[in-house]
Subunit: 94 residues, 2 copies
DNA sequence: TAAACTAGTTTATAAAATAAACCAAATTAT
DNA sequence: ATAATTTGGTTTATTTTATAAACTAGTTTA
């Protein structure tokens, strides 16, 4: 029987965000925006969802005088990602 | 850069349907319903979407006196599934 | 022959994704 | 100096999607 996929990760943009974070460990909002080609609004919403789930943490500071938001993945987020990959493999026949 | 995922396949239920069809080649509606634990209504809707996209074909007949709907994957469906798997691998770091 | 079940479809509702509008401050041009 | 533009976002509204509820048509069982 196929496992239920984590609905929080089964979203193209959120998966892309997590995919970046899993290799980069710490990433700026603007960089994620560039890489994913998402709109800022959409990105903001999806990052907040991942934050609320405890999959990443958001730090707000400044780079020079400009505001800067950085995200980093949590242990919980990493584990959720790995579980998602494992669950999905059954669907993909991998 | 991450590839855009086929939105038709990036749906848990539709992916489960395609996942069944890709190995079984021909499958009854009722069997898909059992395996996926989806409601009949939801399943009917999602099968129609896959049919409209040309990813599967639906045949209606009878098993004894009872109506029977069977689905089978098309070449196009198989190719779309394979492309989806390939695209998704980048997200999953596989 | 009435009640319950099978095999679905259609339609309505809930949830999710996305875009549009907005805000505050910084930078650039006049 | 100040007006216009850009940066870095958030909030809210709209669209899309997923899901569930209600319905249809016929069959089997009591």
């Amino acid at each position: 029987m196929l496992k239920k996929l984590d609905p929080l990760l089964h979203s193209e943009l959120r998966l892309a965000i997590m995919s970046l974070l899993i290799t980069l460990e710490k990433t700026e909002f603007t960089y994620i925006k560039e890489q994913t080609e998402a709109t800022a609004g959409n990105l903001s919403v999806q990052i907040t969802k991942l934050e609320n789930a405890g999959y990443l943490i958001v730090k707000k500071g400044f780079k020079g005088k400009m505001p800067q938001t950085t995200c980093s993945i949590t242990k919980q987020g990493r584990e959720a990602f790995e579980k998602y990959v494992a669950d999905l493999k059954d669907y993909l026949k991998l």
